[in-house]
Amino acid sequence: MSLLEVSGLGIAFGGLMAVNDVSFAVKPGEIVSVIGPNGAGKTTLFNMISGIYRPGRGAVRLNGEDVTGEAPHRLAEKGLSRTFQNLQIFQEMTVLDNVLAGYHLQERGPIWADLLSLPSMRRRATIARDGARALLERVRLDKTEGQQAGSLSYGSLKRLEIARALALNPKILLLDEPAAGCNAVETEEIDHLITELAGSGIAILLVEHDMKLVMRISSHIIVLDHGEKIAEGDPATVSRDPQVIAAYLGAGQEEEAEC
């Protein structure tokens, strides 16, 4: 059964159909990538699925439940977690506190327990702290836990954002260009991390421009162009699809240079 089901999703900005009638499904443990030239509507699609935009039409189902247009914090409770192409980090907090913030939902308890520092609260805090440290180790940021997040390099912040998303213990993780701006070594690390996460049963929905990465790790690829789905299938099928090749060669020469 599909974990995430997107059907007929669309949104218009002014008169422009930014995304039109896009449908697909993601199963647990699957890595599904959304590709397409710049401006194809990939991030808009992500924003609709994750509740940042309310879709103009269509539906998003999570675990069979209709969650179309629900607020991001409600989706977080239901197991959907995401990262941003241009990062959404608590810049003025420490690296550890950023990940700890990801434990917000699990750490919740009565306010008097917090104020009186009751054992139940301290226990919850310890669990969160240990969990956050383990996640930082997993993305190899454990050495920097006391630093202010704003002082980290771009590649490190990308991994920090993934660690925070993982702190929510998500069933599905949406990654918006996790390898953008990363060097070859960092890309390799993200590649391993994503494969490992999918191996542990988390569904991954990925937007990425690094075609080598996409072709290597995806189990399924969706191709968008001008807001519409023009092809989907496994990496081999999609890369041979004439429409896909046309979309990329027709509009995406600068795209090649970017990768």
């Binding site: 940042i52 607020a71 991001p72 914090h73």
Partner: protein, 290 residues
Amino acid sequence: MDALLQFIFSGVTVGAVYALVALGFTIIYNASDVVNFAQGEFVMLGGMITVFAHQAGLPLALAAVLAIIVTAAIGVALNKLAIEPARGAPVVSVIIITIGASILIRGATQLIFDKQLHRFPAFSGDDPIRVMGATILPQSLWVTGGALVVFAGLWLFFTRTLTGKAVLATANNRIAAQLVGINTGAIMTLSFGLSAAIGALAGVLITPITLVSYDVGVALALKGFAAAMLGGMGNPKGALVGGLMLGLLEALTAGYLSSQYKDAVAFIVILAVLFVMPQGIFGKSSTERV
């Protein structure tokens, strides 16, 4: 020396009120980036509602609690009815909405209550306490004590509780806060309720000394804003320090120069801060990473 001590006492008393108003500005600014110019009206409402509830026969303490609760509800209503529907509008538009709201609150108070000056008895009598040649009103101790309790309580709230940390997280990055499951809408509501309650408390504490009428909010909002700017907008510590400094400056100006210049101090402070250090004493210069 006696005179100086006397000026310091009165400076700290008004300063404590400015600090509470500045704190109200700070809490809402942190949650929403909006400077809420209706903050002074919350102080006025605290005083006015207490006066009329007390006249209607409620014991003073109960009247004060009622005033704080009603004002907090008005703060929440302001957020729900005027600020939330304008989400996505430029910050300047929302600030103008708060100015509109303050005019509305002032007008409504004038209609529902009246235009007279009012007061209610001080909590612990009006006999001045003599300290080293200067005198201090017992109510002044209530004001400063009240402000200290509020600041200490808030400090505990922000550092110890998960909800408090959620408020800080929302201030730091709203989208990131939503992503980790924080209901930022509820945080906004909480912030408006809390700011209004703190403002009302300030009004309750200061009314026996300065009296209250429907129009005292304007001056208080301006002074509180100056204090918040001086301390660094968005920083509770800055609100405390800025409020006390402004209060002291005013009292010293009134004492050594002329009481006519007292109200000018706040404006000079605003101008000086904007010219010399726009980020205030504790504020950080904001840089956006792209």
